[in-house]
Every structure is written in C-alpha cells, then in structure tokens.
Symmetry: C2
Subunit: 326 residues, 2 copies
DNA sequence: CTGAAAGCGCTAACAG
DNA sequence: CTGTTAGCGCTTTCAG
C-alpha cells in the first residue's frame, strides 16, 4: 500500500477502489493518523486561517464581533487568528513577530477606526485578500463592510429635534479623526442645518470614548447652568452613561430635564434606569458579512470586491422619550 | 550566492561573513523577500501559534482576557488562534474543521467553566502542550491557572456577615455544575456554618449568569416580602445588577434595605448608583500567566507542569457598605 | 566561510 | 485503479 494511495483516500475518495479505501480508513483510525498541515499548506498555499486585526476598541463591541466572526468562520471551515494592532506593526518597521502572521494567513480582516491609521490603499498593497470593516472608498481593491453611521445619527438627531429646539441640541463625541465619531458629528450638524440652525461651536464637543469624558462634559455644562432643557446625542454609550450619571448626581432627571441618546446599543443601555436610547449597530451581521466577503475574495479572487453597508437603527427608550415625564 | 547562505543570514548570522551578509540583507529588503512559514514549520514542527479555546462566556470577561493574552503572546513572539468551543468538537466526533486547528498550533489554552465538559485528563490526552484556565487538580499533566474563588467568596460573605445575621444572607448563583458558582456557593455556606448557622435551602439559589435571573430571584423574594434587611452575594455582576434594579423598582434602597455584592468587578459596577461591591479577578494576570505557562510547556517540555492560583479580592462599594445609609 | 545535496510530509502528474 | 517520481521552500548536514 503506497503513500500516494493514502493521500487519495483522504482527498479524492472516488479515485480509489472501495476495498483499499476501507483498509486505509481503518488503518488511519487505528493509528490515529492525521495529515501534517504544514506540508499540506506548503503545497496548497492555503492554511484556512483568517487573520483579524482589531484596534484597541471597547470591550463589548470587540467580544461580540469576534464571537460572531468565529461562528461564521468555522461554518466555512476557517479559523481565526486575532491580534489587536497587528496591522500597525506591519506597516511600520516589520518586526519578526509582526510580519509573521501575514504569511500564515489566507486573508486579513482589518477593522479601521481612525482616519490616520494605515488606510485602504496600504491594506490593498499588502497583496493579500483583505476585507476592511468600518471604512470604505468607492473603487478600493479590498472588500469593505461598513455600518451606516449617517443614517443612525440622522435618526437620533431628528428624534431629539422633535422635542427640543435645535439650539438646545448637543453632540458629544470622541477626538477628531475617529471615523465613527466624525460621521456622527457631521450627520448631527447637517440635521440641525436642515432645520435652519447653524450649530454653534459649543454644540459639538470632542473628547474620548469614555465614561469620564461624558461625566466631565456634563459637569462643565451644569456648572454653567446650561444642561437643563437640553437634548444630547453621545457618540457612544460610555459617554452617554457618563452624562446620565453626572446629570442625576445634580438632580436633573431624564427625559424631563435632559434627553439623551447614545450609540452602539450596548448591554448597559437597558441596565440603567431610565433605560438609555441608542443607535443599534448590527454587530453579528457585520462580522459574518466580513467573513463572507473575505472568503469570497480568497476563493474567487477574479470577482470584483464588493462594498457592503449595513443599516443602523435608533432604539428609543425612556432617556429621550417625548412625554415620558418622570 | 546560494540559497543556503541566505537561510544562514536569516537564522544564524554569525556563521556568515560580514560582507556577504550585508549583500544578502540588502537584497532581502529590496525584493521584499519573506520566508515561507509553511516550509519553515514543516521542518521545525513549530508554528508559533497558540490556540485558545473559550466557552461561550460573558462578553466583557472574554474581551479582557483575550486582550491581555494577545499582548503577552506577541511579546513572546506568538500569535493567538481563537475559537469558542473548539475543544468540544475535538473530543466529540472530530469534524474536519474541528480537529484541524490542533495540528496547526504549538499548544492550547483551554478555559473550563463546567464540571461536565471534557476535563483535564481529556486535554492532557490530546498530547499537545496545554494550559487550563479555571480548573485544577493536583498532579494533572497540564499547566493550570486558576483564581481563588474560595478566597474572594469568603471575603464577600464575611463582609456581609459583619452587618447582617447569617440567616438573612443569600447566595444567588448560576446552575449547579458551573465550577465558579459552585466554589463560591460552597465558600458562602462554609462561612455561614463558621458562624454556627446551617444555611437553609432558600438561602442558596441556582439559576443563570444573567440579569434576568437576578431580577426574577429578587422579585420572587420581594413578593414574599422577604428581601428587606437581607444581604445578597451574587455569583456574578450580571445577576447582581438584576437584583439591584428589581430592588430599586420596588423602593428598596441599597445598602439601607438590601446589601449586595457581585463577582467579577466588571465595568458596570461603577456605572450604577450606588456602585456595586464586587470581587475582583485579576484577568490580565490570568491571561499572561496562562500564556507564560503554555510557552514554558512548549519550549521546556521536560519541566513539570505548574499549578498557579491567583488571589481575588473584595472591592467594597456603596451597595454593601455598613453605615452608608442613603 | 560557502555551495551542493538531502529531506521535512504531502499532493499531482505520469506510468503502468 | 495503484505505484513511482518530482517537487512545494526551507534548514541542515557534509564537503570543499
């Protein structure tokens, strides 16, 4: 019985006689034989491993995304190699450990959150099948999967504008240059302009994606006695929670004195009282679309990259509800 | 210039003349040459990839653990291949995709949370370097890293007993068979017994690690008018938050009417008002100890496996503080 | 110090 | 249908 026959039994069972096939299969089972993947990959140039490069993003988002991505990947017979920030080290001086993963992996999913980070071009130039989450540009030679920040932010702002005059509406974001926050800020401003109000400088604030920043912003406004009667759109839920807690500490009630909407629709929104309105991002879909897109790129490189954008949707809860006085 | 020389330049630079070495290095840079990892691994039997198998645990814990593990792994030149539940499929009928990862990986980190899941023996029998988080047994042929549930639960219970009589103390856990919850329940009961009180059946409840279960448990107790004056130790923070919200809904105040301690010290504890006392697990240490242990096992298989147990510590906040009336 | 040659475990092409 | 052979890209003897 030759070694080639064994290989055939394992890969093209039809090319081999029933009798021999069964004999081989039995032997395989008894000896606990398992083909060496390195040898296999050396030949096929495929590892069935997908690399996932994430920024150092907020815990819950990361966990949900990875969970769904892992699920979809294993359905398709792939495994996930993760790293936070692998992509940076690749574009910088390539450390042995840093560039290492690229050669092991059939393709790369990169989540981009900053305008300054290595952009789509750089990723396309890696010359490896790639799918980018969170950033798109028509004509890019990589798959892109985004969520519609503008849509969600528009809905949130319109909702606030229904019960609050434009000059009393505020946007509290993270630093300029963050792709999500910038989009949301823009949609917020556009919605105000559509009502004929040009946003003042102090209506749009830039800080961090943290509880503390939300708290500090709200505290500063209250010190100036300028929060009561306002409607606030926070660029994520952490900021929103900071604002909510600061407001309550000072005796302001939601939605009576302050109306509040967050972004991400994370677990915390329904754990606080009142529950916090937020814009939902379909994270599981985001993850599985990214996996599907990348696998398509890996297995059918001849097809043109697709650019997918997922809808977001405002979930209205008591923190911003009109006529839900305490 | 021969191919062997290039190999030497890249791996044993000292075995080659300065001049040639530099010529090669320049060429490498200019041509963007990168060694094929599959060929390398085929020879060395090493991929510098660590597999991480996680149960489907709560998001935040998972995210923190992975984050710290990734960090430590890359410091040591390894990459992380994650999957939730890969280990089950390996012990069950080995699907092509399921068993696949084992051959690619230099070692495996498995987090165990259930008594019924494939245990330490099964993992040791995989015949691959392994480190287990969350479960230990003296003499096991794998590295184990655990956190001291007993210590933290003891501290929590003692703290509650300082201000509340033993017969008014309650433990609210997840289903029996969960390693963490069972340990914490046991420590709770032992602490009560040490005060001469044998815990009643209704003082220890088993449900799920969810907000809803905490809410339901608290609601049922309040329906029986039996929560006021109680001190509750919840097996995780989600349960604790459910209890906290249910209690507030019915006008009970913490810590005046109910005292509450959770477990995990997650973000939510400091976002709610009052802030929730909780037992802290040192997740980053847990992750890096696991990586270190596994890498030790991979690189020095001759050494005996170590069994590490990390301390936990009670963080007292307003939800349980004695004399912190509302 | 450098080149030639063998071989890691597998699959694919080619004979038989 | 099955065995023989070549070779994937690298490291490592072994000569020179």
């Amino acid at each position: 019985m030759s070694i080639a026959t064994v290989s055939r039994v394992l890969n093209n069972p039809d090319l081999v006689a029933r009798a021999t096939s069964e004999k081989v299969q039995r032997a395989v089972r008894e000896l606990g034989y398992r083909p060496n993947l390195f040898a296999k990959s050396l030949l096929s140039k495929r590892s069935r491993v997908i690399g996932v490069s994430l920024p150092d993003i907020h815990g819950e988002f990361y966990a949900e995304l990875m969970h769904a991505a892992d699920r979809r990947a294993r359905e398709l017979g792939y495994h996930l190699l993760v790293s936070a920030g692998a992509h940076q080290t690749d574009t910088d001086d390539a450390t042995p450990g840093g560039s290492f993963a690229l050669d092991l992996v059939d393709g790369l999913i990169v989540m981009l959150t900053e305008r300054s980070r290595a952009d789509l071009e750089a990723i396309a130039n890696l010359n490896i099948p790639a799918a980018v989450i969170g950033c798109d540009r028509p004509g890019a030679r990589v798959e892109t999967i985004t969520y519609d920040n503008i849509l969600g932010a528009e809905q949130a702002t319109e909702h606030l504008l229904e019960g609050t005059p434009p000059e009393r509406c505020y946007f509290v974001g993270t630093h300029r240059g963050n792709l999500d926050s910038d989009d949301r800020a823009r949609a917020f401003c556009d919605a105000l302009r559509a009502r004929g109000h040009e946003p003042e400088d102090d209506q749009v604030a830039y800080g961090e994606f943290t509880f503390e920043w939300g708290w500090d912003w709200a505290t500063a406004r209250m010190d100036a006695d300028a929060l009561a009667g306002a409607a606030v759109f926070a660029a994520n839920d952490e900021i929103a929670v900071g604002i909510a807690n600061a407001a309550r500490e000072r005796g302001l009630e939601m939605p009576r004195d302050v109306r509040l909407v967050g972004f991400d629709d994370s677990r915390i929104c329904t754990l606080l009282r009142p529950e916090i309105s937020s814009v939902r991002i379909p994270i599981p879909e985001l993850a599985s679309e990214a996996i599907d897109a990348l696998v398509r790129r890996i297995e059918h490189p001849e097809q043109d990259p697709k650019h997918t954008r997922l809808a977001t949707s405002l979930i209205v809860r008591d923190s911003s509800r009109i006529g839900a006085g305490a």
